[in-house]
Symmetry: C2
Subunit: 308 residues, 2 copies
């Protein structure tokens, strides 16, 4: 298990399980991450949007990362999210990830202040790089304007690549806009562009994309990973259609809640259905609708008990 | 100096000064806060948007609050911002503020996840109240959708007031929409509504508003505080016009940068012009324009050296 190959593959923004008192369920998290790798995921983009990472304190994230590594998840497959609003938090999390041997970090821009300049975002990344001061640092920019309200423009990316060509190496594009992904792939050959959904996995791979980082890989890792392995095969388009259909069914609902509901059902583990506020579990009726639409796609909800 | 009267008055979201290495300049912060109170401010809403609080770690905020109190700023005039994305951070900061005797906290909703339900925001506030578990807690909701992307609807406020009538006591309205402030004042008599600008201070006071919390009070506290004291006098409208004109001149520019530029000029202290990324200082030309427009309003930029 290593991510030094290219294309990089399918990375999962692993869901974070909670106990009923809303503390993190470390053990269940480790099990989930190991299962995702066993299913064929190439890496884990832990502490992303789907992971409710922004509902975790910096200390919780660091402790959880250490638990993963202690329990045998190789740091070489880990790309933790480390971008916070406050520079000291971002620096602390990024340094910690690099020191623990993670192959990269997924960096949100500081997202409280809106309408900030490219110059301000550039200055943030520059400060992080300088303060971490470690040649092993590999930054993947996390472009998710619908959630962060702040993003990475093409001209800003160009400036970052010129200033830090060996450090700023990729980007997760969760703009939801294939035109943007396409423009990035055209503009920056060799830059590792990872769409934030499997819907465009094949499209991206065919023009030099690096893989994808997708929320629904939490529940459909095996099928997405299979397309990743076999994307040059004649069946690739059919495989893409199948995973796209599952994605479409899930993304009708709030993503974190829907994925946790599915996992709770798959594993017969109602604890998976706990979210930290402000996120809430799916209402019972929405769950029934979601499960029905997945059954209609022959996405078996009763049989996928993971290897322990 | 106490805020147990009503209306509550002018609160200043005190700017946070930084050293050139971007660490917080505690001494300058204490001096600034003491000066604001000496100028007539009724209280300090430290760690707000204007304070770049979202660019500070939780540990930095707690340490800074302690410094203020150690240096003689009475906790009874303090309403620190304590709302973060992550519940554990919000609980830690809120508990700390209550234990230190602050009269209230200004609570942002968790602001990373967008499109969250009122139910999710209610659950967050309920968790904070339960976990802090202190009858002294007084929460002022911080409604600033242009920045946070998440806000407090009238029906959510109604629900919070019914559930926690002695704890949820007020709201800072930084919607920038006077219609919303007006609707809040009409809907919830006795609820302490504080517009997020002095532009509507007089309008608000005349229909039961509690005062205001304004960024520009960092540089114009004396004039705003004077209107607060004399709002029933025949000169009140003229005073309102004057402070509105200053506000209008400043808010043509990014607020934090403009206020810091003015303070640097007023105090001949270039260090005030340091912002943490992603925010940036005003460009030289914009500063010159801003200063010229203030001079045109007879806002003396050379003479207001504060009492030490």
């Amino acid at each position: 298990m290593s991510l030094d190959q290219f294309p990089r593959g399918v990375l999962v923004p692993a869901l974070t399980p909670f106990h009923p008192d809303l503390t993190v369920d470390d053990g269940r998290f480790v099990d989930h991450c190991r299962w995702l790798l066993a299913e064929g995921a190439n890496g884990l983009a832990v502490f992303g949007t789907t992971s409710e990472a922004n509902s975790l304190s910096a200390a919780e994230r660091m402790s959880l990362l250490e638990r993963l590594i202690e329990h045998g998840v190789p740091p070489g497959v880990l790309m933790p999210g480390t971008g916070c609003c406050a520079l000291p938090d971002t620096v602390a999390l990024t340094r910690h990830a690099v020191e623990r041997g993670c192959f990269g970090v997924l960096l949100l821009p500081p997202f409280y202040y809106k309408g900030v300049s490219d110059d301000g975002i550039f200055a943030t990344i520059a400060e992080v790089i300088q303060r971490v001061g470690d040649a092993r640092l590999r930054i993947y920019l996390y472009h998710i304007p619908p959630m962060a309200g702040v993003g990475f423009s093409l001209s800003l990316i160009d400036r970052l690549l010129k200033a830090y060509p060996r450090i700023v190496v990729g980007l997760k594009d969760s703009s939801g806009d294939w035109k943007n992904t396409h423009a990035l792939l055209e503009a920056f050959p060799g830059f590792e562009v990872l769409p934030g959904s499997e819907t465009h996995l094949l499209d991206a791979l065919r023009i030099g994309g690096a893989g994808c980082i997708s929320a629904t890989a939490n529940v459909n890792a095996a099928a997405i990973a299979r397309l990743m392995r076999e994307w040059r095969s004649p069946d690739a388009d059919a495989m893409q259609q199948e995973i796209t259909a599952v994605r479409a069914a899930v993304q009708k609902y709030p993503m974190v809640a829907a994925n946790k509901a599915i996992l709770a059902q798959l594993l017969d583990a109602p604890e998976w259905d706990i979210l930290r506020p402000p996120l809430r579990p799916l209402p019972t009726e929405a769950k029934a609708q979601l499960f029905a639409s997945l059954e209609a796609l022959h996405f078996g909800l009763d049989h996928r008990v993971p290897a322990a």
